[in-house]
């Protein structure tokens, strides 16, 4: 199985984008070899700004560049982008609707051994709550590549949530990503799994496994958490049972966004696979995903529970 980290795909896409568009500038906060903005820095040193370990300055400077006509991509780890610099993002970027693209890497538990201080488990919730912010969580390398170009073409703030480890490839170049549009990867009539990021692959595995239980399960990749594709959520709800899956706390993320639509427009039984209001810890990514209930098996169990089937 081919694998690539979404942060790696991001770094490569930035270089491609930089060649096409001279207005694109990139900023980092002493993590360029981890966020992969180092590729851009190497090819376009004059258009790269390392702000040092100063994430608030990173976001403020990006805002200033955008207000002067540039298309800045500002990168650091997700905990620091959405957390440390929250006010700079809220009041400095989102409120004035400044054209800054925040590409936050090392999101979620798959950060692994660095532990809880470095694992953003609430960044989708934070960024989704801010007006004017577009929130994108790509499911693989190709979707990341296209999301980078789409973000650059979009007018306004974007939060792009990327991961550390290499993850399975789902899409090829025929796929067409569009901001705000979900993509149905698998049809099914018995239940629907709505997932984002690394959990999309787990959802596909789960759906495959559920065929042995006689269940045909739809799989929907909602990579744009905001604006949410309501039609896609309602189509999923038509199956009568929805399971959401995200590498994030169940408070305020994809599951909450889906629940908001379902509760107000089409109530159906809903289960959320995600982190249960707790911080992460050190460990191998796979061990953590298992411990915190973020595997295909957890999705399978959730679907069966909703369908009244024994595990």
């Amino acid at each position: 199985m081919t694998k690539i980290a979404t942060r790696e795909a991001y770094g490569r896409a930035l270089v491609e984008l930089g060649r096409q568009n001279s207005q694109v500038v990139v900023l980092d906060a002493d993590l360029s070899k981890s966020t992969m903005t180092a590729y851009f820095a190497k090819e376009f040193p004059a258009r790269f700004f390392n702000m040092g370990i100063a994430e608030q300055s990173l976001m403020g400077t990006a805002a200033g560049l955008a207000l002067s006509g540039k298309i800045p991509f500002a990168s650091t780890f997700a905990v620091f982008a959405a957390g440390r610099a929250y006010d700079q993002v809220r009041n400095g970027i989102a409120y004035p609707k400044v054209n800054v693209k925040i590409a936050a890497t090392h999101a979620g538990l798959t950060v692994g051994e660095d532990g809880a201080s470095h694992q953003a488990i609430e960044d989708i919730a934070l960024m989704r709550a801010v007006p004017n912010m577009t929130v994108i969580v790509p499911a693989d390398g190709e979707e990341t590549r296209q999301a980078v170009f789409a973000a650059a073409a979009h007018q306004g703030p974007v939060y792009l949530r990327l991961g550390r480890p290499a993850i399975p490839v789902i899409y090829n170049a025929d796929y067409q990503f569009q901001i705000g549009r979900a993509h149905t990867l698998r049809q099914g009539k018995d239940a629907a799994i709505i997932a984002c990021g690394v959990m999309v692959h787990e959802a596909l595995k789960a759906a495959e496994e559920l065929t042995t239980a006689g269940l045909e399960v739809m799989v929907v990749n909602i990579s744009t958490i905001k604006p949410l594709d309501r039609e896609a959520v309602l189509a999923a709800a038509a199956t009568g049972a929805v399971v959401t899956a995200e590498e994030h706390t169940v408070i305020g993320g994809l599951g909450s966004a889906v629940a908001e639509v379902l509760a107000t427009e089409k109530p159906v039984p809903l289960a959320m696979v995600g982190i249960r209001d707790t911080f992460g810890e050190s460990g191998k990514p796979d061990e953590l995903m298992a411990k915190y209930g973020l595997t295909a098996a957890d999705i399978v169990a959730a679907v069966k529970r909703l369908k009244g089937k024994k595990d």
Binding site: K33, G283, L288
Partner: protein
């Protein structure tokens, strides 16, 4: 004065801490050796000579406090705590494993002896200020130490804390800057220069002293000096070498956050024998 030969016990302890760091990070397969090794003499002086501590009572109200603001240097803190008797030395090889009290960055809930959970850079000085203010309120004479990275000085919050420490005349607090001149993306002076560091602290109202951070004579004298400073906070700027003690790690930015492979562990331990 100042030669390592003048401090045989501390020198031997420092060597053991370095061995622990290498074993620990090697076993974990990830972690931060460079900035752990640069702080070994500072940590040895604090934990084995200067600080008032009781490993049997990690919550003793009269204890001196140590805040590892540069939390990624957790291995040097764990090495010091283990060697000082806060937990069994055998545990060090569980670093970064699922369920270990030795989290990738220090977690006060997981390991007694860790005063503050750190890992997000820039927080430590403000937290240390709070501990110093509480000590004053409670009439306790404990001293608060905080260790900062030089790259960490780029965080605005450090200077907010520096302003507050001087404003409240926190002379029961000593900051130490591990001035190893490297951060992740390269030389501190090249990435985002915080220089001139001493002048900046002085301008913020601090007393400063610059020393060789690997020389026990200078470290002990500076820590003693810092305790004598009255009416102001004091900062010791310790000139250090990142990766100190392991030839192939010294002054190499690449060893900031990379674990040695088994053969590199052997090579490093041979140098530290």
């Amino acid at each position: 004065m100042g030669l390592t030969a003048d401090f045989p016990e501390l020198t031997a302890t420092a060597r053991r801490l370095r061995q622990h760091i290498i074993r620990m990070v090697g076993a974990a397969g990830s972690g931060h050796p460079g900035g752990s090794l640069s702080a070994v003499e500072i940590m040895t002086a604090l934990y084995f000579k200067v600080m008032r501590l009781d490993p049997a009572r990690p919550d003793w109200p009269e204890r001196d406090r140590f805040v590892l603001s540069k939390g990624h240097a957790a291995p040097v803190l764990y090495a010091a705590l283990a060697e000082r008797g806060f937990f069994p030395v055998e545990k060090i090889t569980t670093l970064r494993q699922l369920g270990s009290p030795l989290q990738g960055h220090p977690d006060r809930k997981a390991l007694p002896g860790v005063e503050v959970s750190t890992g997000s850079l820039g927080h430590g000085l403000a937290v240390a200020n709070g501990m110093a203010l509480a000590g004053r309120l409670d009439g306790r004479d404990y001293h608060v130490y905080v260790l900062l990275g030089d790259g960490e000085l780029e965080e605005g919050m450090v200077w907010e804390g520096a302003m507050a420490a001087a404003h409240y005349r926190l002379d029961n607090l000593t900051a130490i800057v591990d001035h190893n001149h490297l951060q992740i993306d390269g030389r501190v002076e090249d990435v985002m220069s915080p220089e001139p560091v001493a002048d900046k602290f002085r301008a913020f109202g601090w007393e400063t002293r610059t020393i060789d951070g690997h020389d026990f004579g200078q470290i002990l004298a500076a820590l003693e000096w810092a305790r004598q400073v009255k009416g102001k906070p004091a900062v010791i700027i310790a000139e250090t070498i990142k990766g100190k003690g392991v030839s192939f790690m010294e002054n190499e930015a690449g060893w900031h956050g990379k674990a040695p492979k088994p053969e590199e562990v052997e090579k490093a331990l041979a140098e530290l024998a």
